[in-house]
């Protein structure tokens, strides 16, 4: 399947008095897109809208020209979709093979033999084929997240939506998961939400979502560049920096308007992100 084209126009979602999404516009096709934002910024809501599980009457979303407000379009969109929700979604008592096979049935793969091959293909791609007969509850946390990823990539979807797939994982598992996800960027449009800047850095495109609004869309380098000339290091804690934190050598890395003669440093993606998210941050 080819990478899906995603178009979103002025997407809004309001829960009570909170604007979870406040006029989001997007145009995506192919590649790995990392959706970066603090907790509660609207990442999950946006992914649910793209995954067609949350559809509003006024939504203007098109995936490959299909409009999820129409039942037949929505079903067709879901044929092209792989979705990994943020919440744990697999029953611990179920067997590894069975949970993926179940999702394969839900995705319309009716032929037994073809489905078995599809399931094993997905399990092999996340390194869990050898654990097919094990219970989900017997797997490590990282394995469970990989298993959840396996159900999402089943059938090679054109649009792959992953909601914080690496949350709570150790560095080894995060790296492994990242490699699997990155491998999908060539034949899918992959959208991965995260609140970790090092994960966002591997994307072809970074979206920064803050309080329901897209505050940045561009390449990771471009996000770092937004902090050019606004990141410096000094010995004393500053009083007027937008963000500052103590480094291992006791000096302070600062973001904001540098004082005259400041020791400017190369900006990172994290610098750019913090300048977007934090009017004032003091860490350490």
């Amino acid at each position: 399947m080819t990478a899906s084209q995603v178009m979103v126009f002025g997407l809004r979602r309001r829960f009570g008095s909170i604007d979870a999404l406040d006029g989001v516009d997007l145009l995506l096709q192919g590649g790995l897109i990392t959706l970066l934002g603090p907790n509660g910024s609207g990442k999950t809501t946006l992914l649910r809208c793209l995954a067609t599980v949350d559809v509003g009457a006024d939504d203007a979303i098109l995936v490959d020209g299909l409009d999820p407000r129409h039942e037949s379009d929505r079903i067709e969109m879901r044929r092209r979709l792989g979705y990994q929700p943020q919440r744990p979604s697999l029953a611990p008592a179920s067997r590894v093979f069975d949970v993926i096979d179940y999702v394969a049935v839900l995705k319309g793969h009716d032929d037994d033999r073809a489905r078995r091959h599809l399931v094993y293909g997905a399990l092999e791609s996340v390194g869990l084929a050898e654990r097919a007969s094990d219970r989900v509850g017997d797997l490590s946390g990282g394995m469970v997240r990989r298993l959840e990823l396996a159900q999402a990539i089943l059938g090679r979807p054109g649009l792959l939506l992953l909601d914080e797939p690496a949350a709570g994982l150790d560095p080894d598992e995060r790296f492994r998961l990242r490699e699997i996800v990155a491998g999908r960027r060539h034949d899918s449009t992959v959208v991965v939400s995260t609140h970790l800047t090092d994960e966002a850095a591997v994307g072809d495109t970074v979206l920064v979502l803050i309080e329901g609004r897209l505050r940045f869309v561009g390449q990771p380098d471009a996000l770092a560049t937004t902090a050019a000339g606004r990141a410096w290091i000094q010995d004393q804690a500053p009083v007027d920096a937008r963000a500052t934190w103590r480094l291992a050598d006791g000096r302070h890395r600062c973001l904001g308007a540098p004082p005259p003669g400041a020791d400017l440093v190369d900006p990172t993606l994290e610098d750019g992100y913090l300048l977007l998210t934090s009017p004032v941050v003091n860490v350490g």
Partner: protein, 244 residues
Amino acid sequence: MTADSTPSQWSVDPARIEANWRAITIELDAPAPSRMERLLRAAGLPSRITRLVVATPALRRSWYLATAVAILIGLALTDAARPREGLFALLLLAPLVPVLGVALAYGPEADPAHEIALATPMRGLRLVATRAVAVLAFSTTWLLVASVLAPGWQPMAFAWLLPALGLTTATVAMMTVLAPRRAAAVSAVVWVLGVAWVRAAAADPLAAFGAVGQAMMVVVTIGALAVAVARRDRFDLMASRWRS
């Protein structure tokens, strides 16, 4: 192959050998279905249906619940001193078993993979209907056994069948508005209050299960089916009432 074939003529594509070997390995390694699933397949159901039925652990719990309630009703019916009271208890409680079963078999509280299922092409109404039928079939089997065991075996002991169907479909229809467990609770309360009201008003304690009651349940079933089909979109989306 001819007798003068040379080894070079025997050679085959290594990729094909690999693919064939993989296919064999998968067939050998794929875990066997559970006992429950094998039972359903032996009954003639295709695997694409049995998978939907047995995949949810909560569905299994609903089956255990149905079994337990059927056994309890069976025990109550063994009180030969008060056969009418036992029969009344059967007719009042038996229709609630599949209602509870359906409530335990669908929705985010019952199925951890609910949100994943919503994002697949499987229509939600088909999924809930498959599970409702599975629950109905299983619980009905057990309850039929209890009915057969009713003292002085009588046709009236089966008068819970239509109410069970009506309440289950009504619960499914209400799930387009309410969360599954709340929908089941509403069905149960309305049913119990309705039966109690008829019992208080009529001379015959079993009047609620007579011809008029049965006809009403047919109407409820048809009406609820119509509502569920008309509002089937609600099973395909994450309702705000279920959102975390």
